[in-house]
């Protein structure tokens, strides 16, 4: 037995302790696996033979893997009923990229302003902006549906881009102001004494230092738009503007769902997310918790 100071009261061999730790590791691996399994399951379902998808007794491990579902989706074998995959891809990419860009530019500016300047009502404005972010998408989508119908923005990706920009600005602003607050303002002032204008100081000093924050908010904004469903399901109607999340519904018929096809499209939908999250994991976590580490 070990006492609190880690001194052996009853001698425990090093090996015993090691085995105990390994056992503990395995237990935690198993726990984490629960969170990871659905990913494997989706990939397996997309690639397994169709008869296995709804088989009973259940088939857990696919007997063979093929990419025919993906080929079907990507249009190798074009049929009447095939899903307008490329329209969805185009719409999803365009709306996500443009809204992320716009939100980053405006949100970074606003974040800097909130962090560096004091002005009347600034705090209230900031809180107001955060509250706006917590308005559920379904509530915003109703008036937008009417307004967009009147202004010709209904079922257009330009309309979606605008909404997503507005939706992601508050969070971008919040993250960026946290970042700018942590950059000592003496750097700014030094640059200004050396003859930079405030604007130049922002561009040359603060912005480069806040790059990790920019990366984190960019990824968040992109994924928010990429995955958004509530608003899109109300204001998009046709392949002209439908994005992936809404497009998933194409796989559902009245009583049946084409799970295999849906899983294939899901895997494709996951690619940018996996790409971003895996590649920028460290920056993402650093970006989110930057303000907390002193």
């Amino acid at each position: 037995m070990l006492d609190r100071q880690g001194i052996n009261i009853r001698p425990v061999s090093k090996r015993q302790r090691k085995i105990k730790q390994e056992f503990y590791n395995l237990l935690v691996y198993f726990l984490v696996l629960i969170f990871f399994l659905p990913v494997l399951w989706i990939i397996m379902t997309a690639m397994r033979p169709e008869v296995e998808v709804n088989a009973r007794p259940p088939v857990y491990i696919p007997s063979r893997l093929s990419i025919e579902t993906f080929a079907q989706l990507l249009g190798a074998s074009h049929t009447e009923k095939s899903i307008p995959f490329y329209s969805y891809l185009k719409n999803s990419l365009l709306t996500s990229i443009f809204s992320t860009f716009l939100a980053l530019v405006t949100g970074t500016f606003a974040g800097y302003s909130f962090a560096r300047f004091r002005f009347k009502g600034g705090n209230q404005l900031f809180i107001g902006m955060m509250l706006v972010r917590s308005i559920p998408g379904i509530s915003v989508s109703l008036p937008l549906f009417v307004i967009f119908a009147r202004t010709g923005l209904l079922d257009r990706i330009s309309g979606l881009i605008l909404v997503y920009t507005a939706m992601t600005i508050p969070f971008t602003t919040w993250l960026m102001q946290g970042f700018f607050k942590d950059i000592p303002s003496t750097l700014d002032e030094a640059a200004q004494i050396d003859g930079c204008s405030r604007w130049q100081a922002f561009l040359r000093i603060d912005l480069p230092l806040a790059l990790p924050g920019l990366a984190a908010s960019g990824i968040f904004a992109f994924l928010t738009s990429w995955n958004e469903f509530q608003i899109a399901s109300v204001i998009t109607r046709t392949p002209l503007s439908k994005t992936f999340p809404v497009g998933l519904y194409d796989f559902t018929q009245e009583f049946t769902i084409d799970w295999r096809g849906m899983c294939a499209m899901s895997v494709i939908m996951l690619i940018p997310a996996i790409f971003f999250v895996l590649l920028t994991q460290k920056q993402l976590i650093k970006g989110l918790t930057f303000g907390a580490i002193k």
């Binding site: 100071q5 706006v132 109703l142």
Partner: protein, 309 residues
């Protein structure tokens, strides 16, 4: 000479502070304008619609009816069911996710090998669109071909069709499990970052003084990672409405409104039933509930932070 310089400095300062003021507004206005035009103004317009009996099928006969929509909603049995379902669901979800997140982070922190791999693995649900989670769990909980019933069959050898998504409150539980699966990893990741950033000295000192594991957690870990808790809860509270996607896809609020939540009821009234005026009124109750929840969460959070310190 000195005085003259002072004066010039003062003048410069005044000029720069005036410039600063212009710049501060110049930088803030684009963001505000976009948010105002696309969210705030539509919401005001939406409020005016909520005072009418607008119907999407016959928009010409729209009439001002005052607060009758709201009154009717408060007398509506389904509304109250949706309301209490939502409160129950959100309370359970946020609490379970928080405790589970802290627990898993603590467990993962002590793993000696393969930290990087499990950290990446547990981020998987963060990549899923909520719609995707909804569809996947709808399938997992399907009574005929779902993974959950199949697993139970494989484990017990006794085939039973458990209608997870049909019976109340089992359908709420199924949605809750999906929600917890989707949102817990985010908490884990933030808390883990907090745990990693902690200094080791306080723990060593506490060990020497004979503090138990729980005491160390309660009096050292918790206060030290409280900024991380704050961040996680801020981000979480902004996304409460995300659960809409799950409910809409897994049960659609049904059967017979039994798993209805305020978000799905808004959609049902305004879009499915075409009663747009009523729907917008419902959407404002939804907004009020969201705001109340955010404010409550922050109150609780700052209170518990004070207690911890």
């Amino acid at each position: 000479m000195n005085q003259e310089m002072n004066l010039r400095l003062k003048k410069d300062l005044k000029k720069s502070s005036k410039n600063d003021r212009y710049l501060s507004w110049f930088m803030i206005i684009p963001a505000l304008a976009v948010v105002a035009v696309l969210i705030v103004v539509p919401m005001i317009y939406s409020f005016s619609l909520s005072l009418t009996n607008m119907n999407l099928l016959k928009p010409a006969s729209t009439q001002f009816i005052g607060f009758r929509n709201y009154i009717r909603l408060f007398q509506d049995e389904i509304f109250w069911r949706a309301f209490w379902n939502t409160i129950l669901f959100m309370t359970l979800a946020v609490n379970v996710e928080f405790i589970l997140g802290l627990f898993i982070a603590q467990l993962m922190f002590k793993v000696t090998r393969g930290q990087g791999v499990i950290r990446t693995a547990i981020m998987a649900p963060m990549m899923f669109a909520p719609v995707l989670v909804g569809f996947q769990f709808k399938w997992f909980f399907n009574d005929q071909v779902g993974l959950v019933n199949n697993l139970l069959y494989s484990l017990t050898g006794d085939y039973q069709i458990i209608p997870w998504l049909i019976h109340y409150p089992m359908n709420l539980l199924a949605i809750l499990i999906a929600e917890i699966w989707m949102s817990t990893p985010f908490m884990v990741i933030i808390f883990l970052a907090g745990l990693v950033s902690l200094p080791t000295e306080p723990f060593e000192a506490a060990s020497v003084d004979g503090a138990s594991g729980w005491q160390q957690f309660r009096y050292i870990t918790l206060p030290l990672i409280s900024p991380f808790i704050y961040i996680a809860m801020v981000i979480r509270s902004l996304d409460l409405g995300r659960a809409y996607d799950l409910v809409r896809i897994m049960t659609g609020g049904g059967p017979a409104n039994r798993s209805e939540m305020i978000w799905t009821y808004t959609h049902r009234l305004a879009i499915t039933n075409n009663r747009f005026g009523m729907g917008t009124a419902m959407s404002f109750i939804t907004v009020a509930v969201s705001f109340a929840f955010v404010i409550y969460l922050f109150r609780q959070l700052s209170k518990s932070l004070q207690e911890v310190y």
